[in-house]
């Protein structure tokens, strides 16, 4: 099993980053062995579609569970079609998030809970 936590640094001690597409790192942990792998998010400053890229990267790693704060609509569609179990956490460290998940304390993300770029645009006009 592989759990991916969005974080603002590498390693299991890093703090959880509540942004999915624009987090700085993905920390992927095997909860059985507690071995972890950190992957930098190369798309955190993409002008658009950062969530789409990030979702592909996470899915490409064969992740079963994603722990993050906010998932936009495009990333949500991708992650759901790959049957990734999305769970919500936006504070504490990666390790604490994994513990909370194992104790069944993290709520599932069942709908996209961030507006993503398309809908946020009205507030800050002009792109495309």
């Amino acid at each position: 099993m592989k759990i991916c936590v969005t974080a603002n640094g590498s390693g299991p001690e890093a703090a959880v980053d509540k942004r999915f597409g624009r987090c700085s790192h993905f920390v992927i942990v095997d909860p059985d062995t507690m071995e972890s792998e950190s992957m930098e998010n190369n798309n955190s400053s993409a002008s658009g579609g950062a969530g789409v890229r990030a979702a592909q990267d996470v899915i490409g790693k064969g992740v079963d569970v994603l722990i993050t704060g906010n998932v936009g609509p495009n990333a949500f569609d991708l992650l759901s079609s790959a049957d990734v179990d999305m769970r919500m956490s936006s504070s504490g460290s990666v390790l604490e998030a994994i513990e909370a998940y194992r104790s069944g304390l993290l709520d599932a993300i069942n709908i996209a809970n961030s507006p993503g770029k398309q809908n946020a645009r009205r507030r800050q006009r002009g792109s495309g």
């Binding site: 789409v52 592909q56 899915i59 495009n74 398309q118 006009r125 002009g126 495309g128």
Partner: protein, 284 residues
């Protein structure tokens, strides 16, 4: 002659200047390029008629032919195409319609189809001989630039075309202003007005378009916009005072040149000055 009316800040008076300028000139085209919320016609009340749809080209994938090679995904700079282990997923609202994915597909699995994103409308006023062309982006659509570009293909080169641009400094503004002979930047004499004016100036300089400033609601705020213009050697071509009569007319949706004849002459003078700037630039 093509004149864009732009501003960094929203609500400084672009539409006021555009509409009054068009009415003062007569024999002009007015293009409402603020396609996210076109509002020139609030002050004109023309009967508008839709004459064209705006569409962008988006890909359609044939899953039978697709081998999941991922070249379309690598090509797309807007991340509109994504690869899953067993399928390709496409996000129409991220697509800019460039057609690159279809070109790079080695299996010819990508066809193109049209997706409507907005419409163009037109109204004509015989009294002043003004043609209003208005673009409207459909609700929920993110990309304004294709609507603006399509609208601008109807500019009549033989007349004066006045372009009411969207606020800001991003893509829709560039699309509105890039091809113009002159740009009027409308600002207000406040710290916000100055900040956003200076951003707009950077953009217009980059586009290498001659420009000047109109200060609206002159008499409020402070003198920093004028100091800035002086320092940057930017001509201030008009000052519209913070005036009760203008505000009352505005609140009734009446362009003030219609009730204040002296302003008709002021706007014509503005246009003559712009013409001088353009000619001067062509000589040197």
């Amino acid at each position: 002659m093509k004149i864009a009316i732009a501003s960094g800040k929203g609500g400084t008076g672009k539409t006021t200047v555009a509409v009054n300028l068009a009415l003062a000139m007569g024999n002009a085209q007015l293009l409402d390029c603020d396609v996210e919320e076109p509002n020139c016609n609030l002050f004109l009340g023309f009967e508008l008629e839709k004459y064209e749809d705006v569409t962008i080209t988006i890909p359609e994938l044939d899953p039978q032919k697709c081998t999941l090679c991922g070249r379309c995904v690598d090509f797309c700079q807007y991340n509109a195409v994504a690869k899953l282990p067993e399928s390709i997923m496409f996000f129409p609202k991220l697509c800019h319609g460039c057609g690159g994915c279809a070109l790079v597909c080695p299996e010819d699995a990508i066809m193109e189809k049209k997706r409507p994103i907005g419409r163009l409308e037109k109204g004509i006023d015989d009294r002043f001989n003004i043609e209003l062309l208005q673009g409207t982006l459909d609700i929920g659509e993110p990309m304004a630039s294709p609507v603006i570009k399509q609208l601008q293909t109807y500019i009549d080169q033989s007349t004066v075309a006045i372009i009411d641009s969207p606020p800001g400094t991003a893509c829709p503004v560039i699309a509105s202003v890039a091809d113009m002979d002159f740009c009027l930047l409308v600002t207000e004499p406040t710290p916000f007005g100055l900040n956003d004016l200076s951003l707009a100036v950077e953009v217009i300089r980059q586009l290498d378009i001659p420009f000047g400033v109109v200060i609206n609601r002159h008499g409020t705020g402070d003198g920093r916009v004028e100091e800035y213009c002086k320092k940057e050697k930017i001509p201030i071509l008009m000052k519209i005072p913070y005036d009760r009569e203008i505000a009352v007319l505005y609140s009734k949706g009446i362009p003030f040149v219609q009730e204040m004849p002296e302003w008709k002459e002021n706007f014509r003078e503005l246009c003559r000055n712009i013409h001088k700037f353009i000619s001067y630039r062509e000589v040197f």
